[in-house]
Amino acid sequence: MGFEKFGKVNYTSETKVKDFVSHLEKGKIEATQCRVCKTMYFPPRMDCSNCLSIDQMNWKEIDNEWTLLTYTKAHFAPTGFEEDTPYVLAIAESSEGLKTLARLSKEVSEDKVKLGMKLRLVPIKLPHDKTVYEFKLSG
């Protein structure tokens, strides 16, 4: 248990990276880094596919400088997200070379959105004691 608090609709409760959620609640966005081979993972994982080590990870705060690679404005949503439409889904790459998908904050007006723009990932609170992260403008 523990991970079910991540995101509005979530299908995973048990995972070795559930502490990610408590870090997020404290305002920290953390990757994992393998103590054996130094490979970094975000989203985090406890199993290293590079050196096959298990549970040899350290939590490590990300640099949090992201560049927008692509986005879409979703007008149609899977079950559970209908009230949120329209919302923008984005993929961005970090200065460490990590890539992730998240929503772009509704605070960012559509005419400002451009591929290559600089973003940061910010923890946000959701109703029902849930939490998630979203992209906001850098700075």
Binding site: K8, N10, T70, T72, A74, H75, A77, I91, K99, L101
Partner: protein, 384 residues
């Protein structure tokens, strides 16, 4: 070792709601394939592979239920799944079984009855098609996944929404000539461009429809095939690959790497070049997917897919006819049945039996079938 050939093909009409059970749906495609084969008895089929996306089924382990209904007991049967690419994965497995000598004649039955579920249930399953841990919690859908590729290509290559719309215009021109297609109306470029947004830049007509339907492909060892039919169609190349499920970790956001790799393997095995393909069926679940397929299959250079549809060279009388049965955009997309339907079209084309949709003198055909958002890629090449 001898070759493997397709000896019989069958397909139901693809519809919004078939009104029959999954067993009855599969029976119709199976009967058509057995009769199409000519000199084949059901008892000559010594194995069956059943393909669908199981999350849409009420029946647990559908292979058993369907093999019994088709009269295929006590021969072995089992289930294969790679979402939208399931039935060409089934064909790949059947090829291996026949080539190894374990089986002589195998039926690959693909089906989906999406109307078994309410639209809310279908949308719930679509949400779980993404990585459920790190991407589904943001509300990712299939159209949004492909839209992320479309946006990246608009930036990198200057691809336009009009170029995507032109894929649907072509599709509808041919689906009205295909009585098994769900979409029986020609649409104009203006209609496509003016349609409501689904996941911008993708609009309503950029997306295929959910559908009910079944397909059946019967494969045989080439020596047996000659006794079964006068028109066997040989499988001369197979390629298969995968990419990450998570969209953020895709090897590329401007093309499907699993398709590039599957195509490389299939061309190498067949000993042919892209220019040697006379007719192709590609996985156009969205208009953007057909444009990427042109490039990933080597029909044009990376970035030039949009120009290829503009040039009209992928129409029936062009240099490289693609999806001249309407494709997924025109036929509808009953997940597990789609790959088999693509194969059926190519086999009928190579036999020269496609009527109004016949590509003149087609000798070599290609099927590109993708599961998920560029997750599983199968490319299969056929020859007369």
């Amino acid at each position: 070792m001898s070759d493997v050939a397709v000896v019989g093909v069958g397909q139901t009409a693809f519809t919004r709601a078939c009104g029959v059970s999954i067993k009855e749906l599969c029976f119709e495609a199976f009967k058509e394939a057995v009769e199409d084969a000519g000199n084949l008895q059901v008892q000559d089929i010594d194995g069956s592979i059943v393909c669908s996306a199981p999350e849409y089924d009420k029946q647990r382990s559908p292979a058993g239920a369907i093999a019994e209904y088709l009269g295929l007991n006590p021969k072995p049967t089992f289930y294969v799944e790679s979402v939208c690419a399931s039935s060409t994965t089934g064909i790949r497995v059947a090829y291996g079984l026949i080539k190894s000598g374990l089986n002589d004649v195998v039926a690959v039955v693909g089906f989906q009855k999406m109307s078994e579920l309410s639209s809310t249930e279908v949308q719930e399953r679509m949400g779980r098609g993404a990585d459920v841990m790190w991407e589904s919690p943001f509300g990712l859908s299939m159209p949004a996944g492909y839209a992320l590729f479309a946006r990246a290509r608009m930036q990198k290559y200057g691809m336009t929404e009009e170029q995507m719309a032109k894929v649907k215009v072509k599709s509808s021109k041919y689906s009205v000539l295909n009585p098994k297609a769900i979409f029986q109306r020609e649409v104009t470029l203006e209609e496509c461009l003016g349609a409501r947004a689904i996941a911008a830049p993708l609009k309503f007509y950029d997306c295929c429809s959910n559908a009910d339907g079944a397909s059946c492909i019967i494969l045989a060892d080439a020596d047996k095939a000659k006794k079964i039919t006068d028109t066997p169609v040989r499988i001369i190349g197979l390629g298969s690959a995968s990419d990450s499920l998570s969209l953020a970790n895709k090897a590329s956001l401007t093309g499907l790497k699993c398709a590039v790799e599957a195509a490389r393997q299939a061309y190498k095995m067949a000993g042919i070049q892209p220019k040697d393909v006379d007719v192709a069926e590609v996985h156009d679940c969205f208009t953007i997917a057909e444009i990427m397929a042109y490039e990933n299959l080597g029909f044009c250079k990376p970035g030039e897919g949009g120009k290829l549809i503009e040039s009209a060279q992928t129409y029936i009388d062009g240099d490289m006819p693609v999806n001249i049965d309407g494709g997924l955009l025109g036929k509808g997309h009953p997940i597990g049945a789609t790959g088999g339907s693509q194969v059926r079209t190519i086999v009928v084309e190579l036999r020269g039996d496609a009527g109004k949709l016949q590509v003149k003198g087609a000798e070599t055909g290609l099927v590109h079938n993708i599961g998920g958002v560029g997750l599983y890629g199968n490319v299969t090449i056929f020859s007369r």
